[in-house]
């Protein structure tokens, strides 16, 4: 049955409402993450002092440290101290590396982001057409083969995949270097494209498997929609229907999923950076885990969570732009 239409609301007002709602949600999520991180800090055996000073510290040193750092204050107060520190960009100090955590992260994060962009960008470029092609040739040999390959790639741990790639391209063929770009600044990293290929490939292949599966099922769903039939009934050739109508509508769920893919990607970064010795956040985190450098560990978690939340927000915004229905403003 029909519904009565409501007067069209201006897009700007809708966007405003939407942003407020999402920002509030994001803030709540970040707050919860901060609590988790704080609790983790408290959960360390021997308390945070032990974590920071290390195993060799004497009880007296620990007590002095606790008092100085305010660890003997009530929990709630400590939490608020932390939050106010974090809000001003102070993530603590790494006693192992003798540097501020925030500056360490500021150095390493851009490099991880470059790798991520290269990996995801490449993955999308391949998987979107691939997924669509599969959908259009559903249940034909092409579809089965690609699905099979996707399964195998998806089931392969990334370090094994990376290993195989190194063995094939670096050792056997010798055309690509086996270790990642090294350097302190972003510029230095970008100047070594050849070194970037294998790490990006390793990171990206798993993404191709996931994204193309999503694209495939999204395209299949859209191909069955009524509006495709209407477009055909207008005399639009099938190819054009796919390009003009189906593509845009099929992209929406994939884009939304991208936002949720960020944590997976950061997790993957850990492994890939360790394998290729790439000086990004992942390697920083791993080194910190080896040396139980807790300020670094927790600072990284906080920053990555923040990045993930922002990523989800961006994905939601993109969906708002791509899918007019999601904007609301109708009864």
């Amino acid at each position: 049955m029909t519904t009565t239409a409501v007067r069209d609301n201006s897009n700007i007002r809708l966007f405003g409402l939407f942003m407020i709602k999402r920002l509030v949600q994001a803030a709540v999520v970040i707050a919860i993450v901060s609590v988790i991180v704080f609790l983790l800090l408290q959960a360390l055996p021997g308390g945070p002092a032990r974590g920071i000073l290390g195993q060799a510290a004497t009880p007296a040193q620990i007590e002095a440290f606790n008092h100085e750092m305010g660890f003997d204050l009530p929990l709630i107060q400590q939490y608020f101290n932390y939050v106010s520190q974090w809000l001003t960009g102070n993530l603590g100090r790494s006693f192992v590396m003798n540097e501020d955590v925030s500056s360490l992260i500021a150095q390493r994060l851009p490099k991880t982001l470059i790798l991520a962009i290269a990996a995801v960008g490449g993955a999308l470029l391949v998987s979107i057409p691939l997924g669509m092609a599969q959908a259009l040739r559903r249940n034909k040999p092409f579809d089965y083969i690609i699905t099979g390959i996707n399964f195998v790639v998806y089931s392969t741990p990334s370090f094994f995949l990376g290993l195989l790639l190194i063995m094939f391209f670096a050792q056997l063929l010798g055309i690509l270097p086996a270790s990642a770009p090294q350097g302190n600044t972003v510029g230095e990293i970008l100047a070594q494209p050849k070194e970037m290929v294998l790490p990006a490939l390793t990171s990206g292949l798993a993404g191709v498997a996931t994204f193309s599966r999503y694209m495939r099922s999204s395209t299949i769903d859209n191909l069955h929609e009524d509006y495709v039939r209407t477009a055909r009934a207008k005399g639009t050739a099938m190819k054009r229907v796919v390009a003009r109508h189906v593509l845009r509508n099929s992209l929406t769920p994939v884009v939304t999923m991208l936002g949720y893919y960020l944590p997976v990607m950061f997790g993957g970064a850990l492994v890939v950076e360790q394998l290729f010795n790439y000086p990004g956040m992942g390697l920083l985190f791993w080194n910190a885990a080896q040396t139980t450098d807790f300020p670094v560990l927790l600072g990284c978690i906080l920053v990555i969570s923040l990045a993930t939340v922002i990523g989800s927000l961006l994905a939601d915004i993109t969906q708002f732009i791509l899918d007019p229905r999601s904007r609301g403003g109708v009864k």
Binding site: L40, G148, Y154, P157, L164, G267, V271, Q274, A289
Partner: protein, 302 residues
Amino acid sequence: MSETTKNPTAPATPARSSEAAMSPTRRAVRQFFSNKLAVLGTAILVALVLFSFVGPLLYPTEQVSTNLMASNLTPGEQGHVLGTDGLGYDVLGRLMVAGQTSILVGLAAGVLATVIGTLWGSIAGYAGGWVDAVMMRIVDAGIAVPGIFLLLVISAIVRPSESMMVLIIGLVSWLVPARLTRAEALSLKTRDYVLAVKATGGSNTRAVVRHIIPNTIGTVVVNATFQVADAILLIAYISFLGMGLQPPATDWGAMLSEGISSVYSGAWWLIFPAGIAIVLVVCAFNFIGDGLRDMFDVRGQQ
């Protein structure tokens, strides 16, 4: 069969009594076995389980104490079918033992994650309102932190035993099933047959237990298989990062991690068997999960 006024794209056909007389479960099982990939996955899984659990009975090897005298042997030497590793462990035998760990821990962790996630998600979805909002924000927060990072931090504090590993992975992985189940519960909650229960004086418990949960089983089971697959991968990653189980306990991921240093020495038997084993088992679970998903989808469309 349909007498509705909606337009069919293919003509209505009368229900064939022999086919229709089966319960939904039996029809579903038949559907599953007609999916070649799913059958292949099941076969691979069965083979690997037999290999890991029955194998050591047929090919017993020493997997606890090391034997440095017989280390780094090539396949075939001294009766070691796949050679030995740096500590003298027989590789083939180690594969079997590692398989037990990978599969068992993966299964347990996957199931744990699914159980927690399903309960959380169904309650959130069915309750709705602010209960739902709060529960899902917690899930969002959990998802925001990549599981591996949390795992690493915890492992840095205390090297986990097998059961701790199950617990930790389960606690990190329940978030995705929670989301999925919540979506299912939300959609099922508005079905007429659920409303009928409430409308004629039935309790919420009855609605959830008798109608919502049985109808989400499809999603839950499908998701469980994927969770197991992911758990096995997660264990492999942890072991690769050196934070996994303590030796002499091992899993395929740890074997692979140790083998990586052999990349340049050409000792392929330290790398490929373990890697391929992981790929096979995860693939198997993914195939099965996919087959299960198709099976439940078709029934939903009827």
